[in-house]
Symmetry: C2
Subunit: 233 residues, 2 copies
DNA sequence: ACGCCCTTGTGAAAGTACGCACAAAGTAGG
DNA sequence: CCTACTTTGTGCGTACTTTCACAAGGGCGT
């Protein structure tokens, strides 16, 4: 029995699957723009750079949206994935730290093909406060609590130097932010109810260096062929 | 028996471990600077935000560098991890695309606490070519092959618009680059001998949105406590 | 209507990763 | 030297992930 939740839906999409849905979504949106109506798991998997069985299993977690013998309806699948990812509603984002990186993020057009609205930019440096970046006036970090509260920000992006990151994070969390995207090279501590994702340039480089060294050591002759980058993430 | 490779070492470090080593390394370097001589797996794990058993198992893949009853020698461990990650030698990096992001990357000081040297910046836009960014003169993308060859670049960073990414990647690869760090929102195709890692802002945001929606739906009361962010990567 | 062919959805197997719990090994104090 | 205490290194059970392989389902031509 174990009556678990109000909804009958299982609601147990594996994390690994969630991480791939955005990739599928992007591929599908590209196809939709080019006027493609349906796509097979084989073709979509090739574009997304994954195994087709994995793709089918991933999609099966959302429901049975394919048609045997035909494939998947592109538009319908775009809608279903968007809905599952929560992109049918808008999320409000605030960015703390308007250095080179913060600027790059603010100007990142579309910001994930809609679904995300940048509500505010914060910085602690008085020389930057008041500047206009990406159509927004940079505010002082001390106004963070006010703005996050009034704008109902749910996602905080941390693009500050490492030393300030935890402090800014704490303020975000206290102000009500429940998801944090961290670009600073530090491990953040947050309450369990808050999600943190980390993007760290130097970690990525170091992982590449590891494999690079491997290749240099006992240079195993690479098997021939040219495969889709199964970008190890 | 199975005499496999020249070196007796097993040389089979799990990918998940490799991805965490840089985190440990950073924590250890911080401790070293602060003068800490030894550290227990418990303490280091807390700082790195992981389970201590996992930390010990990770480190055990490099060898037995701890002392029971005492812990790990900080300096020694820094050295061992650095060596394993291939940071005892310098890797040469080239960045393609000098927009906001490329600039941010070029100026990212230390570039992973040494070990990486930026040899060149490339851009296709004539208005940017010739500018000085982070102490380097931006070169035209058409000189990519020459520079990559003469400077012996092994890691290529792609910070171009999505449409140019695959083309630039192909040129990098043809010129001899064997690792690629891709910031463009596309899946790159490369030969099997080339490693690709992807950093994708909108994917990260979409994953956060998914969890955000979860929380909003059936708002499961979060259990109390304040834990270290086990930053899901 | 029928049967062929194509593609999905999924059971089961294989491969990874995680974390507990404890024996082994070392330190320190008497 | 012996005992008490600390911390590593790892065996083992569990959970998650990936991949294979194929039965079931659905369209399309005749």
């Amino acid at each position: 029995m174990t009556p678990r939740s109000p909804r009958p839906k299982d609601r147990g999409i594996p994390e690994a699957t969630v991480a791939r849905l955005p990739v599928y979504l992007r591929a599908l949106q590209g196809m939709a723009e080019r006027g493609t109506l349906t796509v097979s798991s084989e073709d979509l998997a090739a574009i997304a750079g994954v195994n087709s069985a994995k793709l089918r299993k991933d999609l099966s977690h959302l429901g049975s949206y394919g048609t045997r013998g035909v494939g998947y309806d592109v538009d319908y699948l775009v809608y279903q994935i968007s809905r599952e990812l929560g992109l049918t509603q808008d999320w409000t984002v605030a960015i703390a730290g308007v250095g080179n990186l913060g600027r790059a993020l603010a100007n990142y057009g579309g910001f994930g093909t809609r679904g995300f609205r940048i509500a505010a930019l914060f910085d602690a440096d008085g020389r930057v406060v008041g500047d206009e970046v990406a159509g927004l006036v940079v505010r002082h970090i001390d106004t963070l609590e006010d703005v996050v509260g009034s704008e109902d920000v749910s996602i905080g992006v941390i693009a500050t130097p490492a030393v300030s990151a935890q402090g800014v994070c704490d303020r975000f969390v206290k102000a009500g932010v429940t998801s944090v995207l961290n670009f600073a090279p530090v491990v953040l501590s947050v309450p369990p109810a808050v999600d943190v994702r980390k993007v760290d340039l130097s970690i990525e480089l170091q992982i590449l260096a590891f494999h690079e060294q491997r290749k240099a050591d006992g240079q195993a002759p690479p098997e021939a062929g040219w495969i889709d980058a199964t970008e190890k993430t």
